[in-house]
C-alpha cells in the first residue's frame, strides 16, 4: 500500500512539473528580458527613465496611440514621473481641448489643464483605423497589463523588427516582427538612433528609448505600483508579527488540554 501511495504522489509531482515546464515554454521564452526596476519586491520606477519615457511616448507613440485613462495631473503625482506641478501645467498647455458649450451655446477650444484627460490623437476608432491602414493602434493606458509577457513583451515588440524569413510574402504596410503574435504587425518600426533628444543627455539609442517608454507604459498601466509595494511590505510585516503573537497565545491556551496543536 505504502509503495502504491508513493508512486501515486510521484505521478502527481511529475505531472505538476510537466505543467510548469509546458507553461513557461508556451509563453515565448524568446522574449528579450530586461532587469526592470519595478519588478522586485521593493520595486520602484526609475524616475528619470519615466520622464524620458514620457518624452518618447509624447513625441513618437502619441501621434497614433491614445492614453485615454490618464490625466495631465497624473504626471505630477507621487509614484509617477513626478514632474513638478509647473512642468505638468506647461506640458498640459501644449495641448488643445474642446470644451463647452459656452453661454452662447458654442463649443470652443482652450489649452488643456491638469484636470484634463490626455488628448486623443484621433476623434474615433474609425478615423484611427483609416489613418493606419485598417489597424487600430490600441490605447496604451493599460497595454502592459493587457499582453501576456507584460513589459518584456512590449520592449521586445518595439525592438523586434527584422527582415521576413525566406519565402514569406508580406502585404503592403505589413511588417515582420519577431515577437508579435503571428509575427505580422501593421505598425512600422518606430525607433531610430537619436530620434529624440533627451534633455538629461542620455544617448538616445533604440534600446534606451524602448526601455524608457516601456517603463513609462508600465507606470501608466499600474500607477499605484510603488504605493502597493510599500503598503504590501508593511501589511505582511504586521501580519507576521500578529501571527507569531497569536501562535504563542494558542500554545498557551492549548496547554490546558493534553492534545498538541
Amino acid at each position: 500500500m505504502k509503495k502504491l501511495f508513493a508512486i501515486n504522489i510521484k505521478i502527481i509531482l511529475i505531472f505538476l512539473i510537466h505543467c510548469c515546464v509546458a507553461y513557461s515554454a508556451g509563453n515565448g521564452s524568446a522574449l528579450l528580458k530586461q532587469d526592470w526596476s519595478f519588478k522586485s519586491f521593493f520595486g520602484t520606477f526609475d524616475r528619470a527613465s519615466l520622464q524620458r519615457g514620457y518624452q518618447v511616448y509624447t513625441e513618437v507613440c502619441a501621434s497614433c496611440h491614445s492614453m485615454q485613462y490618464l490625466s495631465y495631473r497624473n504626471l505630477a503625482e507621487e509614484g509617477g514621473p513626478e514632474f513638478s506641478l509647473e512642468q505638468a501645467k506647461a506640458i498640459a498647455s501644449n495641448f488643445e481641448v474642446t470644451d463647452g458649450p459656452n453661454s452662447d451655446g458654442e463649443m470652443f477650444t482652450r489649452p488643456a489643464k491638469l484636470s484634463d484627460k490626455f488628448v486623443m490623437p484621433y476623434a474615433n476608432t474609425e478615423e484611427a483605423k483609416l489613418s493606419n491602414g485598417g489597424a487600430y493602434p490600441p490605447d496604451m493606458s493599460v497595454l502592459v497589463k493587457a499582453r501576456a509577457g507584460g513589459a518584456d513583451y512590449i520592449y521586445s515588440v518595439i525592438l523586434g523588427y527584422e527582415d521576413p524569413p525566406e519565402g514569406m510574402v508580406l502585404d503592403d504596410g505589413v511588417y515582420y516582427n519577431k515577437y508579435m503574435y503571428g509575427n505580422k504587425i501593421k505598425m512600422p518600426p518606430q525607433l531610430y538612433e537619436d530620434l529624440v533628444i533627451y534633455s538629461d543627455g542620455t544617448p538616445a539609442t533604440p534600446e534606451q528609448m524602448a526601455k524608457d517608454v516601456t517603463t513609462f507604459l508600465a507606470w501608466t498601466a499600474e500607477p499605484k505600483l510603488e504605493e502597493r509595494h510599500k503598503f504590501g511590505f508593511r501589511a505582511i510585516i504586521y501580519l507576521l508579527i500578529l501571527t507569531i503573537l497569536v501562535y504563542f497565545s494558542m500554545k498557551r491556551i492549548w496547554s490546558r488540554v493534553e492534545t498538541k496543536v
Binding site: 500500500m1 502504491l4 501511495f5 501515486n8 504522489i9 505521478i11 502527481i12 505531472f15 505538476l16 505543467c19 519586491f41 485615454q68 485613462y69 490618464l70 497624473n74 490600441p138 493606458s141 493599460v142 497589463k145 493587457a146 499582453r147 501576456a148 507584460g150 503574435y181 498601466a221 500607477p223 499605484k224 504605493e227 502597493r228 509595494h229 503598503f231 504590501g232 511590505f233 501589511a235 505582511i236 501580519l239 507576521l240 500578529l242 501571527t243 497569536v246 501562535y247 497565545s249 494558542m250 491556551i253 492549548w254 488540554v257 493534553e258 492534545t259 498538541k260 496543536v261
Partner: protein
C-alpha cells in the same frame, strides 16, 4: 444542541433572553463542544466565512464606484484603480479574494472527501455545502463579466450559449438570458444585479450550513462518533477560535502576497482589453477555478451531452453520501479508498490543466480519459469499494489511541496514523 439550559446572570439579560434568546445562541456558540483532535484542514470553515465577508464588504465599496454600462464599465474599473482612494487595494482584494475563496473551498471540500464528512448523519450539511459551491461558481462567473474586458465578454458568450443546447426552447432561453440577441448592455446590467444578489443567498446558506453542522457536531480526523461534551471535546471558544485565527493569519499572508506583489497573475491579460464583439480572443478560458468543469464540458463531442456532463459532475457530488457505501468515515482506516482519493485529486488537477489547454490532439484525449475516470470514481469505484474494502479497526474514542492500550496490530498502525495527523496539525 447544548444539553444544559442557559440562564443569563443579569436581570436585563434574562428579560431580553426570554423574549429573544440571542444570549442562549451566543452561549451555545462559545460552549459548542468540538473534537479536540481537529487538524488544520478543519480551519477552512472559518477561513471561508472570512472570505465571504471580505468579498461582500469590498464588493459593496466597488459597487459605489462601478458603472454597469457596456460603454462605461471598463473605464469605471480604471477609474477605481486610478482615482478612487485605495481603489486599487479594494479591487485587487476583491479580484484575488475570489481566487482565494475558491482555493479555500477546494481544500474544504477535499478535506470532507478524505475524512468522510459527508456521511450520515451529515448529509444535509454536505448538500447545503454543494449548493453554496454551485452558487459561488455562478457568482464568480457573473463577477468576472463585470469589468467588461475581452475575457468577460467572450466568457459570458460561451457560457450563456451553453443554454442554447437545450432542445426546442434553447434559443429562446439564451435570448431571455441575454435580454437581446447577443451579449450586450442588458446582459451586463442583469449580471451586475445578480452578482449583487447571490452573495447574500450564499450568506443565508452558510448560516444553514453552520446550523446543520451544530446538530450532529463536527466530524473529526478519526471519523468516529464522540460523546459531547466529554474528554474528547473542547469548547469552541477559546480553543477553536484561537486556532482558526492562527490559520486565518497564515492564509492572509499568502493572500497579501497575491494582492500586493502579483495581483494579476491569476487573471488573464486579455481582460485588460476592453470588450469587442468583433474580435474573438485566440483562446477563451475561464478563471482557473472553473477549469476542471470546462475540461469536462469540452471533452464530450456533443454540445448538449457536454453541458449535461458538466452539470452531472457537480450532481454526483450532491448524491455522494449515497454513492459511498462504506460505513467507515475517515480514509485513515480505509487503505484502498486512500489510494483512490489521491487518484481523484490527481484526476481533478489533470482536468484543470486540460481545461486551460486547447481542446485538440493529445490534450483532448487526456481530458476524455480524465473525465471518464472522474465519473467512474464516484459511480463505480465508491459504491463497490464500500462493500468490498477491508477497513482497519477503528478506535473507540479520540483519547484512546493517544493514551495507548492497543488491541491489535492494525490498531497500532491507526495510532501511528493519528499521531502523524496530529503532528501535521
Amino acid at each position: 444542541m447544548s444539553s444544559h439550559e442557559y440562564t443569563p446572570s443579569s436581570k436585563f439579560g434574562k428579560w431580553f433572553n426570554d423574549r429573544l434568546p440571542l444570549l442562549t445562541l451566543t452561549n451555545h456558540l462559545t460552549d459548542y463542544p468540538t473534537p479536540k483532535n481537529l487538524n488544520y484542514w478543519w480551519t477552512f470553515g472559518g477561513i471561508l466565512t472570512f472570505c465571504l465577508i471580505t468579498q461582500i464588504i469590498t464588493g459593496l465599496v466597488l459597487a459605489m464606484h462601478y458603472v454597469a454600462h457596456a460603454d462605461l464599465a471598463f473605464g469605471s474599473v480604471e477609474h477605481i484603480m486610478r482615482d478612487v482612494n485605495y481603489g486599487w487595494l479594494i479591487r485587487y482584494v476583491h479580484a484575488n479574494g475570489a481566487s482565494m475563496f475558491f482555493l479555500a473551498v477546494y481544500i474544504h471540500i477535499f478535506r470532507a472527501l478524505y475524512y468522510g464528512s459527508y456521511k450520515s448523519p451529515r448529509e444535509v450539511i454536505w448538500i447545503i455545502g454543494m449548493l453554496i459551491y454551485f452558487l459561488m461558481m455562478a457568482t464568480a462567473f457573473l463577477g468576472y463579466v463585470l469589468p467588461w474586458g475581452q475575457m468577460s465578454f467572450w466568457g459570458a458568450t460561451v457560457i450563456t450559449n451553453l443554454f442554447s443546447a437545450i432542445p426546442l426552447i434553447g434559443e429562446s432561453v439564451t435570448h431571455w438570458l441575454w435580454g437581446g440577441y447577443s451579449v450586450d448592455n442588458p446582459t451586463l446590467t442583469r449580471f451586475f444585479s445578480l452578482h449583487y444578489l447571490f452573495p447574500f443567498l450564499i450568506l443565508g446558506l452558510v448560516i444553514l450550513h453552520i446550523w446543520a453542522l451544530h446538530v450532529p457536531g463536527n466530524n473529526n480526523p478519526i471519523g468516529i462518533d464522540i460523546k459531547k461534551p466529554s474528554n474528547d471535546t473542547v469548547p469552541f471558544h477559546p480553543y477553536i477560535v484561537i486556532k482558526d485565527i492562527f490559520a486565518l493569519l497564515i492564509f492572509l499572508i499568502i493572500f497579501a502576497f497575491f494582492v500586493f506583489f502579483s495581483p494579476n497573475i491569476l487573471g488573464h491579460s486579455d481582460n485588460y482589453i476592453e470588450a469587442n464583439p468583433l474580435v474573438t480572443p485566440a483562446h477563451i478560458v475561464p478563471e482557473w477555478y472553473l477549469l476542471p468543469f470546462y475540461a469536462i464540458l469540452r471533452s464530450v463531442p456533443d454540445k448538449l451531452l457536454g453541458v449535461i456532463a458538466m452539470f452531472a459532475a457537480i450532481f454526483v457530488l450532491v448524491i455522494l453520501p449515497w454513492l459511498d457505501t462504506s460505513k467507515v468515515r475517515s480514509a485513515l482506516f480505509r487503505p484502498i479508498y486512500k489510494q483512490f482519493y489521491w487518484f481523484l485529486v490527481a484526476d481533478v488537477l489533470i482536468l484543470g490543466y486540460m481545461g486551460a489547454m486547447p481542446a485538440e490532439g493529445i490534450y483532448l484525449l487526456i481530458a476524455r480519459v480524465a473525465t471518464a475516470y472522474y465519473f467512474i470514481h464516484f459511480l463505480v469505484i465508491l459504491p463497490i469499494l464500500g462493500k468490498k474494502e477491508r477497513t482497519l479497526n477503528i478506535p473507540l474514542s479520540i483519547t484512546e489511541p493517544v493514551l495507548g492500550g492497543m488491541l491489535n496490530p492494525s490498531m497500532a498502525k491507526a495510532k501511528k496514523d493519528t499521531e502523524k495527523i496530529n503532528s501535521l496539525g
